[in-house]
């Protein structure tokens, strides 16, 4: 028998309240039927005695206190799962929207997932070669890592993410899958990604979840959870190496804020709820590998920093949870440089255990360290030059300026279709370091320098360097 409650006792924003209910569980889903027979989904967010407060995913438009009928399903929000999801497109709440019909699920799983026991995790050590020098050398992506792209509006984060997907050895691995979640982005952006997956010939390996800017914000809160549930299923049950692209996390966080304020919660920084950290952690921590299971979930969330401010709560809390970040830089972008990766604030926390002898190449850690250190001195030389003029600089400082320009133009700059192997990238890095006198390289031991520092090796590069 289908039990339905007639009418509501309160309506406010996307929330509805019912009184006189019994046997309703916290976090359970409900179906709300409108007079015209259409159904909307809702979820219990608070219980008090016989009163239940629900959020309605598609919004409360058209609902009145009398015309709604509510049925509680007795279970939390669940996503139907099957390997047939690959190649399909779903809306933000996990319903197919590509006209190919319903999925025949192998099972249905709670989209909130559960935390991975730290004891069961397998510490990630396999590097993913993205073919992008700046990333491979200085912030190596590791399989099972969560490495967000911190960008700003109008910068080339989508192109970069698409290039990572294209070049991350998609072709060679048979068990490679992509889960793509669009949250509050424009149709153009979602379409850009679809096209670039298509061009890479990977469309049949992609599961897409699409919550566009005009779609309900409550569904936006479900979107990454659906995507990660699908990713965990593909990875840990079916053995796929899954790369999850989440864009745009800023829209997601704003949806959380909007929803929180509609519940009348006490706001903390910039109006975001106090639990934003825990909420983001419940998403980002769903990356990783599990001992004894073949697959992996690697996350590359994209977020646009409001006003390019890295201390804004969204990038700030994200950076405290994720294992590093790839930061894009407005200045480089305006110089027309692609990818505009800002080396210094970018970081991969897991790279230390996934590079070097036995992983990439023995000289990788030292080179990467030295590039960071030398490039940070470039910034000092530049600010000095802006005060006293380039001509007044010491010989060493002038060499730093050349080195900085060369690193940006020859190393960081890369064609969106170009792919450099890790040895190519590392050799290029060593050549660039020869612009500096050997005595300036204080992060490398003598033996490594002996092997890789070839006096004057940079000469062949300088002809390519635009003035």
């Amino acid at each position: 028998m289908r039990l339905e409650y007639m009418g509501l006792s309160e309506l406010s924003g996307s929330l509805i309240a019912l009184e006189g209910v019994s046997g309703v569980a916290y976090d359970e889903t409900a179906e709300i039927t409108l007079p015209d027979g259409k159904r909307r989904a809702g979820r219990v967010i608070r219980l008090e005695g016989d009163k239940a407060i629900l959020q309605v995913f598609e919004g409360t438009r058209g609902l009145s206190l009398d015309n709604a009928r509510t049925h509680f399903t007795g279970e939390p929000v669940k996503l139907p799962l099957s390997t047939e999801m690959l190649g399909r497109i779903f809306d933000g709440a996990g319903r197919p929207i590509d006209g190919l019909g319903e999925l025949y699920p192998e099972e249905r799983r709670d989209i909130n997932g559960s935390a991975i026991n730290p004891v069961s995790r397998h510490y990630p050590r396999d590097c993913i070669e993205t073919g992008i020098s700046a990333i491979d050398c200085n912030m190596t992506l590791i399989r099972g890592q969560k490495l967000p792209i911190f960008s700003g509006s109008g910068m080339k984060h989508n192109e970069l993410a698409a290039q990572i997907v294209r070049q991350a050895r998609v072709g060679e691995e048979r068990n490679f899958a992509i889960v793509f979640a669009a949250m509050g982005v424009k149709n153009d952006t979602a379409e850009f990604f679809r096209r670039s997956f298509e061009e890479a010939g990977a469309l049949q390996r992609v599961v897409m979840f699409r919550n566009l800017a005009s779609d309900p914000i409550i569904e936006r809160i479900l979107t990454p959870r659906c995507a990660l549930t699908a990713a965990e299923y593909l990875a840990f049950d079916k053995g796929y190496h899954v790369l999850v692209i989440l864009t745009d996390m800023t829209s997601y966080c704003e949806a959380v804020r909007e929803f929180s304020s509609s519940k009348g919660e006490i706001p903390s920084r910039k109006g975001f709820p106090a639990y934003l950290y825990s909420d983001l952690a419940s998403l980002y921590e769903r990356a990783g590998m599990i001992r004894g299971r073949p697959g992996s979930v690697t996350q590359v969330p994209i977020l646009t920093m409001p006003n390019d401010d890295i201390t804004h709560p969204i990038p700030d809390l994200t950076g405290y949870i994720t294992e590093g970040q790839i930061v894009l830089d407005r200045d480089l972008d305006q110089k027309g440089l692609y990818p505009p990766v800002s080396i210094l604030p970018s970081l991969s926390r897991l790279m230390k255990d996934g590079i070097g002898e036995g992983f990439t190449r023995a000289d990788h850690p030292a080179l990467s360290n030295q590039l960071f250190a030398s490039y940070s001195k470039v910034q000092d030389a530049r600010s000095l030059a802006s005060v006293i003029g380039e001509d007044e600089l010491s010989e060493t400082d002038r060499q730093y300026l050349t080195f900085g320009r060369a690193l940006e133009q020859l190393f960081i700059r890369q064609d969106p279709l170009q792919r450099r192997t890790i040895p190519e990238t590392l050799d290029l890095g060593w050549k660039l370091l020869t612009i500096l006198p050997r005595s300036e390289l204080d992060r490398v031991d003598d033996a490594t320098l002996q092997a890789h520092y070839v006096e004057g090796a940079y000469q062949s590069l300088l002809s390519d360097l635009p003035q």
């Binding site: 026991n117 730290p118 397998h122 510490y123 840990f236 419940s282 201390t311 700030d316 294992e323 926390r349």
Partner: protein
């Protein structure tokens, strides 16, 4: 009296059905038996914070009281183990529920079946008072577990079991107190986590916690029993520093608390500490380590409890006469858990949404650190090192500011240093240690009477460099007088050759105090030797050209930790280089 669930809002559950629940009582909530704690009572409505995800709870389901405040079991088997925030062993949870954490699991902290080779140290008829040791067993190859009469208990031994192998629940002795009540003592005992464990008396802090990290041991030392904070923006290396301290500091026991941080970091700590050997004993580090992992995606209320769990375990080993270091990474996550729960309880927020009691909670926590004489009369200590994750890297936020009032060592991590990959990225201008005066006698005696003087000179050079760099930023370094160039060059040598320490280098990851002292001596010898030459208008570039600065900056890699005699060679090289410059200018 039967209690039932009335309302549910996230981890906060309201309970009705009577007035008998006491504040801080542990309860089991709903049909799943989720673990919770009473945090408020108003009329016949009781508020409970639940340590597990509350999805699926239904109003009307039963709530049962366990009749005691939130307590954990303390006994052998804690070491070489990893627990969640309320001391459930994660390895057993994995066996029960697979790689994803399940809810409502009722798992004892200590393995009930494991047997320990126990020596009973008392006989029938002995008089015992609180803190006396009645039995001991080897817990790991490094640590002997000593069972002490719990605080508040004393009496005559009326029964003592023979030596043998016992589980944690087996009765070892019976103690009859003055009133004739018989108390059974076992290998394990229970203690409420929010109550500090009693001790004899607090002693002054007089010994450093030696960490093998140069910038810490030399510039900003922490005393055993002291408290330190490591604040820093993300990516500055808080966790890395904490891991280094957990690996190399000379505490007997390490309690490493991952509070609201990354799952992979705990996995790494577990792997690494199991493989790495303690430099003194050549035993795996895990044999002296207890890990508590309440990662950021585990329930927020348990995150709040995890710091007390960690502290209680630390105090328990302190009472046995051990020196314990508690690394809490990160205390900000704990403060945020307080804020989150406070918001759900609809309390009035104070600064930045944090509850007004934030400061007093932090104070209570850091005050549980200390160098003490235990009830038994031994010396023991709990040193607390808390990481702080300030919002936006801004040290003026409430958690950093309040923490600063209760710690005496402050290691401020710096984003700019981290960007230049200068690690540990402790900024020497913003950091401080108030223990210098307390520890000076120890350094004078144990290392060298010149140690503290050298430290001061190094510190002064770094400060002078900072002022000079202000000028350099405006006019460049070339126009400075030679003597100031020497200051800059020496300070650079200190930064690169001394303060920077490579955690991945076999030799450099841990450096004994003797070598730290010799390194300072060599650097200062070069500075002192070069000065008179410059006064004779010989340019610094000539001295640099000898390569002596570059050679000194690599000492950290070149001189093994156990051969301090190699430093004589460096002193000789300095004399030779300076003599060469001197003769060239005659």
């Amino acid at each position: 009296m039967s209690y039932t669930i009335y309302g549910i809002n996230g981890p906060v559950v309201t309970v009705r059905g009577g007035r008998g629940l006491a504040m801080m009582d542990m309860v089991r909530v709903g049909d799943m038996g989720l673990i919770g704690e009473v945090v408020g009572v108003e009329g016949d409505t009781t508020t409970v914070q639940v340590y597990e995800d509350t999805a699926g709870l239904i109003p009307g389901q039963p709530v049962t009281s366990l009749g005691a405040p939130m307590s954990i079991t303390l006994g052998p088997g804690l070491l070489n183990n990893i627990f969640d925030g309320i001391a459930r062993p994660l390895k057993v949870m994995e066996e029960r529920s697979g790689p994803f954490l399940d809810r409502g699991l009722d798992i004892p902290t200590l393995d009930p079946d494991r047997r320990w080779e126990t020596t009973v140290l008392v006989r029938e008829g002995d008089q015992l008072k609180a803190g006396d040791c009645y039995a001991q067993c080897p817990e790991t190859t490094l640590i002997t577990h000593r069972c002490l009469v719990p605080a508040g208990l004393s009496g005559r031994v009326t029964h003592a079991a023979p030596n043998g192998s016992y589980t944690v629940a087996d009765a070892l002795i019976e103690l009859t107190d003055d009133r004739g009540t018989v108390h059974t003592l076992r290998l394990a005992q229970s203690w409420p986590i929010r109550t500090p464990r009693p001790m004899g008396e607090q002693l002054p802090i007089h010994r450093p916690l030696i960490t093998g990290q140069r910038i810490i041991d030399t510039l900003f030392p922490i005393g055993k029993g002291g408290a330190a904070a490591i604040p820093g923006p993300f990516g500055a290396g808080k966790t890395m520093t904490q891991h280094q301290l957990a690996k190399w500091s000379d505490a007997d026991i390490i309690v490493y608390l991952g509070c609201g941080e990354r799952g992979n970091e705990m996995t790494q700590a577990l792997e690494e500490f199991s493989e790495l050997l303690d430099p003194k004993s050549q035993q795996p580090l895990m044999n002296r380590t207890i890990l508590i992992a309440n990662t950021s995606n585990m329930p927020v209320a348990a995150r709040e409890a995890s710091v007390y769990t960690g502290m209680t375990i630390a105090e328990y080993y302190r009472d046995m006469g051990y020196h314990v270091a508690l690394m809490a990474d990160s205390t900000s996550r704990w403060a945020e858990a307080l804020r989150e729960i406070s918001g759900r309880l609809e309390e009035m927020p104070a600064e930045e949404g944090f509850p007004a009691y934030l400061a007093s909670r932090l104070a209570e926590f850091y005050e549980r650190a200390g160098y003490v004489r235990t009830l038994e009369g031994k010396e023991g200590s709990v040193t607390v090192i808390g990481a702080v994750s300030p919002q936006g890297g801004d040290f003026s936020e409430p958690v950093t500011q309040n923490t600063k009032r209760y710690v005496r060592t402050f290691w401020g991590l710096d984003r700019a240093l981290a960007y230049g990959r200068h690690f540990p990225s402790i900024n020497w201008l913003t950091s401080y240690s108030e223990y210098i005066a307390d520890l000076k006698p120890w350094y004078d005696q144990q290392v060298s009477p010149r140690f503290m003087a050298d430290r001061q000179r190094i510190f002064t050079l770094l400060q002078e460099e900072d002022q000079l760099l202000e000028i350099v930023k405006l006019i460049g370094a070339d126009v400075l007088p030679e003597e100031q160039k020497l200051t800059l060059e020496t300070a650079r040598l200190i930064r690169v050759g001394f303060l920077q320490q490579n955690a991945y280098n076999q030799i450099d990851t841990y450096v004994p105090l003797e070598k730290q002292f010799q390194m300072m001596e060599v650097i200062l010898a070069l500075y002192d030797g070069a000065k008179p030459l410059l006064e004779r208008a010989i340019p610094l570039s000539q001295i640099k050209a000898t390569g002596i600065f570059a050679s000194l900056s690599k000492i950290k890699y070149e001189v093994p930790n156990d051969t301090p005699q190699r430093f004589e060679g460096y002193h000789e090289a300095i004399r030779a280089a300076l003599r060469q410059v001197d003769e060239a200018n005659r």
